[in-house]
Symmetry: C2
């Protein structure tokens, strides 16, 4: 068989990783024919004759079989992917935002033009979660999927909890270490995790929703009192994406989560990602690995390329089977730390287990529906930190707070 000819869009850290891996590979019959980039004058580490500055050079090149899309701009990415599929060019992409926001359209395009799109690299880098969900968990027993989908946030949270840094210091450390971008909003506010969760909802439950329908709040407002609270009660804070079946459908959300050392994610530190799939019969399955970085993501792209060589496409069986709906009426237990009392009027709690007020730490633990949190548009409010929480609390022996209020929870 002749080599697969790749047209590559984007030559950032993943693109460069891919280029290097393909050069070194023996068993992958694929080569990069052309690389389309935006900036003509940027210094490149390889012979520049391979670069093109016009997307149509690749899209209209009949010799190119596969387009690998690794650019940032989701809108432009969708345009490139659509035009590729229309021309019968298979696509491998790592663009989670583009996929999440255009999932139904991508299904439609794949059907219409009988050309596949693979995107393992878009969710948790090198962890083969999409393939596993499609090929292995193809029965109707999955109850629950959750994960640490964002390495940047997990790195920051590890720094706050292990090194005693505050949020700003930890964010700075993440930037120095190359794990956070100059504008970290998508990562730290839970959007990146939400895009990935939205994609996985399709592959886990056959549930197609738009990212904007799904609750996300992040770690950007975490302060030292939150970290202290977590430590005192034996918790770690992780930014989790969670989805599980309810009586009415599927609850799905991205929130910081206070979890104990019995939780599978307790020991997932730094830039590592993890996904847990829980079924009725298979118990808990945990997959862990590096979620980002040039080589891990390139490795996922390579796996997709070699699957394309074998004519693989996602079967999307669950989309055909299920009629589950997003259940934002689900009630969840949360920890809410706030400065101004007004927030307690804004958020309609169903139960309040405990309210605690001290000079520098005012918080409430209670139950509230997902849709009430969405309504309060909490991401815009700099004065609150909200996290889901494992209850009940257990009191530590060195607890410096008024314990009778905490104990009222039990």
């Amino acid at each position: 068989m002749s080599n697969l000819k790749i047209g590559l869009f984007g030559y950032g850290c993943v693109g460069q990783g891919l280029y290097e891996v393909l050069l070194k590979s023996k068993n992958i019959k694929a080569e990069i024919s052309s690389i389309c980039v935006k900036q003509k004058n940027k210094k490149r580490n390889i012979d520049t004759s391979i670069f093109s500055y016009n997307k149509w050079d690749i899209l209209n090149n009949p010799d190119i079989d596969v387009v690998v899309e690794l650019i940032d701009d989701a809108e432009e990415a969708f345009s490139i992917v659509s035009e590729s599929l229309k021309r019968g060019k298979a696509v491998v992409t790592a663009n989670k935002k583009m996929i999440a926001e255009n999932f139904r359209a991508l299904i439609q395009l794949q059907e219409t033009y009988q050309t596949p799109v693979l995107y393992e690299a878009a969710v948790c880098g090198s962890i083969p979660i999409i393939r596993t969900l499609e090929e292995y968990y193809n029965t109707d027993y999955i109850q629950n999927i959750s994960g640490i989908f964002n390495g940047t946030s997990n790195y920051i949270l590890t720094q706050t909890q292990q090194q005693g840094k505050n949020y700003e210091e930890a964010l700075h450390a993440a930037k120095i270490a190359g794990f956070a971008e100059s504008n970290p909003t998508l990562d730290v506010e839970g959007f990146d995790s939400k895009f990935k969760l939205t994609i996985l909802l399709n592959h886990t439950f056959g549930l197609s929703v738009l990212p904007k329908q799904v609750l996300n709040s992040g770690i950007q407002n975490l302060n030292k009192t939150d970290t202290l609270f977590a430590t005192r009660f034996g918790y770690q804070i992780k930014l989790l994406a969670q989805a599980y079946k309810t009586d009415k459908g599927v609850a799905a959300f991205v929130l910081p989560h206070l979890l104990r050392n019995t939780h599978s994610f307790f020991h997932i530190y730094n830039e590592f990602n993890a996904v847990q799939v829980e079924g009725i019969f298979n118990n808990k399955q945990l997959l862990t690995g590096k979620g980002a970085g040039g080589f891990p993501t390139a490795a996922a792209v390579i796996s997709d390329l070699s699957s394309l060589i074998k004519n693989y496409k996602y079967p999307y069986n669950k989309l055909k089977q299920n009629d589950l709906h997003l259940d934002n009426s689900e009630t969840i237990a949360i920890y809410l730390r706030y400065n101004k009392k007004e927030i307690m009027n804004q958020l309609k709690f169903e139960k309040i287990y405990s309210q605690f007020e001290q000079e520098n730490h005012t918080y409430c633990i209670g139950e509230i529906s997902i849709k009430e949190i969405i309504k309060a548009d909490i991401n815009k409010n700099k004065e609150v930190f909200i996290a889901s929480i494992e209850l009940p609390l257990y009191q530590g022996s060195d607890l410096p707070v008024k314990t009778e209020q905490i104990l009222s929870i039990h």
Copy 2:
């Protein structure tokens, strides 16, 4: 499509789990037509009209499409599997010993009769490692695979290290908890792990060897001084199956391993299994889940059944690509605790870092080739405990042994 008709061999805990899961499933088009068991007079929890006591009832029944083989006896299992394939009946089996010992023959039978055998349930129960290796890690970048493949041993080791039990007490606890059989030899002496490792060598490196070529030693001789030593130096002891590329091929062995809290397996406790795959580009991938038990194993069988419905068979690409050999000349670092000095003459160490002698604890830390350990036939020797070890040692502050000898290691 009409339902897949299953002939089931064996009705132990996995068989019963499978029966129950299939009854409850909506999306799996498969049903159990007949169950072949040995004992006619045993009390059964379902209508006995489904049972047969003669294997040919199933093998010669043209209505049965698939044979699910879940019996203990490896020899009889291979006979059932061979006869099934000869009759064009696809096979799902969980019999690791049978598969490991007959791997090449099973490949041959599958080719000759163009009928697949799937066996995800044979390795780490519900963890989809074989499928992942076949479908996802299909490139030539895997450097290393290792795992906790035996839940019984891991449960026992957890009991010794967390509860302070000695080996016999921990084994008893494992029996009470249903994790150890009355004769635990295969589990605790590393044979079960070795069968699984032997199977995975084919799917990881395209390397086919017989189990008897691979070193295994287990935890059966573990005593309190070993546990104490591990704890003092910050180790945990886990029974690991390990395989990695060397200059000359692939080193593979099953040994207890002294690992530190930076190791991915440090927090894998009790009956849990874990597999780690390490590649040049994808970094470390860890899969964790319950490795045994009726439902987890049945879940793996179900996944294989639904793959059969989609005409899936293992591509075995690596077997076609690679010409790697088993490298038993590889040298590994070990901890050896012994009673009689003769063992030190028997085992030809390449380097000795430290020898320590005290009334109740005599041990040596050094480097030795795998083939020298095999030659010493250490499993038969009740007076030694051998484990691979992460070096260098770090001294604990409360070390009660003669430290100058330990420190000579650095």
